[in-house]
């Protein structure tokens, strides 16, 4: 049999070599290419000796055609219908010989019934993106698309998978040791002040690793990095007339492909390598990588949306459909991925395994994860097979799995998400409790106590590793805005300020927006520090929003998903301008890392303790006498662990009252003395100290806590550095 000579796509190397495998000889000629029946597994496009193996499945298609392009050319080079003998069940597989993976792009045409009422929307006139595409061409440059008339704008490509990881592997840090830093890959370095060589890219994030190390975080959570369409937003900013984007990217087109426009090397087809290098370097710096993944919907929208991939391949399988074939919309975006359908479950699992094995990802945060517990008819499952599979999968065994345990249709599962002893949750109730206390609400003390101590009311079974604590996240105000605005200001989003949450539990400290009044500014600085200190002294996994450590603002916009500009980009001049806040955040993180008692609530309460003090105790203005009254605005918590001569003791007092108070301090055993770590009422830089170098308190019996302030003390032998 003669190899087909198709110059445009032929692989010069392989065409000349004699195949070394006996299945590397073609059996058929289709569309001018030498082919043979392919391997049904693995799905997707896989280089094999002499060619490329293509495998795609659809349980409802009646015929499938492989469409081959030369990279960047509008018209296909060839169309290769799969002969019936190349089909196994619903899987179509074909090995095409002599193809060059680097210059080839491919898609599929799927034929089958077009009966929307029954859920089927096959249209062989459309060229479809492979759901397993590992690299997607057509959107290599942010905000720029190839011709609008292109019949196949998002094209599957075939990346190399031979990245040299050396001995890298996921870091597997204990969950409670993590300090998560949530960032947007583009926004983190896109600002001209970032000083990196390729702003807004994976490579640029790699360049910023020294900053992350200095800050002390040990885990980054990347907002969506699966390929998405940032231009998928019909609105514009009414005042400025600028176009708006889908900047955040909760809108996946391809679940296996890293977003090409985040790669400095995308035009060379190297986005996969660049991403892997970023993970490898972060790991070398001791920083884990979590991905924010969106498995609740796709970019195809409802019946008015585009046909990109899933809808054309097997609509009735991939989407939750009501009677009459209408799309359920639990995600608020038009469609809902049918994630507990057995086929889709397999797809999700394949995808996560791919990211763990190929990209060494340390864990995942699942957007609107409550949807992952819904049945194909939308009902809420007690024992959702998808979540159970992910919890017990051997490849994912050591991964962090974090749920955003609610959805856009009112299902709120914080504390009740089916976690199989394995899943953690974004603790929305932690956020709300800290915010209520911070703004000085009455009745906030008792819940604050529960939240600082690991939210045992929600997570008694799973322990503090189940609660991801946060005060701010991408969705909502930044920390600076939380203390500068009473209300959201989303006019620039083009929806008349109707979008975004109205319940922000924020307080502007006396003036809405930027203020010159030094008292207001000082109060805001203090409130931001209060929030950071409470967050980083709470049991559970703390998560910071990137930029909060430097006072980043979005001018009161609490739903900035659509802005690609200075509002959402990290202005690196803030690092200099707000150096004292950054220092505060750095030291608060370092203090947490120095004090196991803040991280490991549960073990500290187990046996072999010297019991000199309780593991956790509550105090008020009087030691041992917390004030749980509704009008109370002051709370102190002391944590202690002592065994084998190692003693770790931290006292935190939080006062949301507008007056100062004198605190009676708990007496310490065995010559231990109170040392002052942080007092947010003090003027920077005296408001915080280097861990291990805290000055002793002159008066060991009482301390003053200022108005709306947080005070943190640690106990150790006088004159000694902290025991570690």
């Amino acid at each position: 049999m003669k190899l087909a000579a198709v110059p445009a796509l032929a692989s010069p190397a392989r065409a000349q070599q004699l195949p070394e495998r006996i299945d590397a000889y073609p059996t058929h000629q289709i569309g001018g290419f030498a082919v043979r029946a392919g391997h049904p597994l693995p799905f997707g496009a896989t280089p094999v000796p002499g060619g490329i193996n293509f495998s795609v499945y659809s349980n409802h298609a009646t015929a499938m055609t492989l469409v081959l392009f030369r990279r960047g050319e509008p018209q296909p080079v060839a169309e290769l219908p799969f002969p019936p003998s190349f089909r196994t069940g619903g899987v179509y597989a074909m090995t095409v010989f002599g193809l060059d993976a680097e210059t080839c792009e491919y898609g599929y045409r799927a034929d089958g019934p077009y009966r929307p009422h029954d859920g089927h929307r096959f249209d062989p006139g459309k060229i479809l993106l492979d759901p397993y595409a590992r690299l997607i061409g057509g959107a290599e440059q942010w905000g720029i698309r190839r011709d609008a008339g292109d019949q196949y704008p998002y094209r599957a490509q075939i990346p190399c998978d031979d990245f040299d990881w050396e001995d890298d592997r996921p870091l597997n840090r204990p969950p409670c040791d993590l300090v998560i830093y949530e960032l947007h890959v583009r926004g983190f370095t896109r600002h001209p002040s970032s000083g990196v060589s390729c702003p807004g890219t994976y490579a640029a994030l790699t360049e910023k690793i020294p900053y992350l190390r200095e800050l002390g975080i040990n885990c980054v959570e990347l907002m969506p990095v699966f390929e998405y369409d940032e231009l998928d937003n019909p609105r514009s900013d009414p005042a400025a007339g600028r176009r708006l984007y889908d900047y955040w990217g909760y809108n996946p087109l391809g679940f296996f492909a890293p977003k090409a426009a985040y790669a400095a090397t995308a035009r060379y087809g190297l986005a996969v390598d660049e991403f892997k290098n970023m993970v490898k370097r972060l790991h070398k710096a001791g920083i884990e990588v979590l991905l924010d993944v969106v498995f609740n919907h796709t970019a195809e929208g409802d019946e008015r949306g585009p046909v990109i991939s899933f809808r054309g391949l097997d609509n009735a399988t991939y989407y939750m459909l009501a009677g009459g074939g209408q799309y359920y919309n639990f995600s608020g975006t038009g469609n809902t991925l049918n994630c507990n359908h057995p086929v889709v479950r397999g797809f999700v699992l394949d995808c996560l395994r791919y990211w763990v094995t190929q990209f060494h990802i340390d864990g995942f945060r699942f957007d609107l994860a409550a949807i992952l517990g819904r049945a194909p008819d939308g009902s809420v499952l007690a024992n959702p097979p998808l979540l159970e599979s992910l919890a017990h999968d051997p490849v994912l065994r050591d991964c962090k799995l974090i749920a955003e345990a609610w959805d856009a249709a009112g299902l709120y599962q914080v504390g009740s998400f089916p976690g199989y002893g394995r899943w953690s949750e974004w603790n929305g109730r932690y956020r709300d409790a800290v915010r209520r206390f911070l703004k000085g609400d009455q009745g906030a003390v008792a819940e604050l106590a529960t939240r600082l101590a690991g939210s045992a009311d929600l997570y008694y079974q799973r322990g503090p590793a189940a609660t991801v604590n946060f005060v701010t996240a991408h969705d909502g105000f930044t920390l600076q805005d939380l203390v500068s605005y009473d209300h959201k200001h989303n006019e620039a989003n083009g929806e008349g300020n109707r979008d975004g949450d109205n319940a922000n539990l924020s307080w502007n400290c006396g003036h809405e927006g930027p203020a010159d009044d030094p008292q207001i500014r000082a109060l805001r600085n203090r409130q931001a520090r209060n929030a950071l200190l409470m967050l980083l002294s709470s049991e559970g996994i703390p998560m910071l929003l990137a930029g909060d450590e430097a006072g980043r603002t979005q001018q009161g916009n609490n739903n900035a998903y659509c802005h690609d500009g200075p509002m959402t980009w990290f202005d690196w001049d803030l690092v200099r301008r707000n150096a004292d806040l950054l220092r505060f955040a750095r030291l608060a993180i370092a203090f947490r890392q120095e004090h196991p008692v803040l991280r490991h609530g549960a073990p500290a309460r187990s046996g072999q303790q010297d019991n000199a003090l309780p593991a956790i105790s509550w105090h008020g203005v009087r030691a041992w006498t917390p004030d749980w009254a509704h009008h109370g605005r002051l709370l102190a918590v002391m944590r202690y662990a002592g065994h084998g001569g190692m003693r770790d003791c931290v006292y935190l007092a939080a006062n949301s009252h507008w007056e100062a108070h004198s605190l009676e301090l708990p007496a310490l055993p065995d010559g231990l003395a109170w040392h002052l770590f942080a007092d947010t009422a003090a003027q920077p830089p005296a408001e915080i100290h280097e861990p291990g170098r805290e000055p002793p308190l002159h008066d060991q019996t009482q301390a003053r806590i200022g108005p709306r302030s947080v005070l943190v003390l640690t106990a150790r032998l006088p004159g000694q550095r902290e025991q570690r």
């Binding site: 692989s11 010069p12 040299d164 290098n277």
Partner: protein
């Protein structure tokens, strides 16, 4: 892609001109396989390389690995700025020995 070879002392200098991509990489590979298998140190002068693709980058790295295995030495010189940036962004750069000029590379290899 065109290849030109000359010697500077023990050092074999190969100048690569044109695009190094999946179409041309196998040619370079075949050419280099002989060079890095026991004929002394090799320097690749990339000053006239117009484009470096994923496959091209890989051939360079495979040759580098091959050289290490044979205890031979391979240096890249005059790496164009954008190619260097691609190598840096993908982490390949740290695997290569890179010299700013041919002369500097030869000096290093001859040492």
């Amino acid at each position: 892609m065109q290849l030109e070879m000359h010697m500077d002392g023990d050092v074999t200098i190969i100048a690569v001109a044109g695009s190094l991509d999946s179409a041309t990489a196998p040619g370079l590979r075949q050419y280099l396989e002989e060079m890095v298998s026991g004929r002394g140190p090799v320097l690749l002068d990339l000053s006239r390389m117009s484009c470096l693709s994923s496959a091209g980058l890989r051939v360079l790295l495979v040759m580098c690995r091959q050289a290490e295995r044979n205890a031979a030495r391979l240096t890249l010189a005059n790496v164009p700025a954008d190619a260097r940036q691609v190598m840096a962004a993908t982490g390949f750069l740290e695997f290569f020995t890179v010299a700013d000029t041919v002369a500097a590379g030869v000096q290093e290899l001859a040492a």
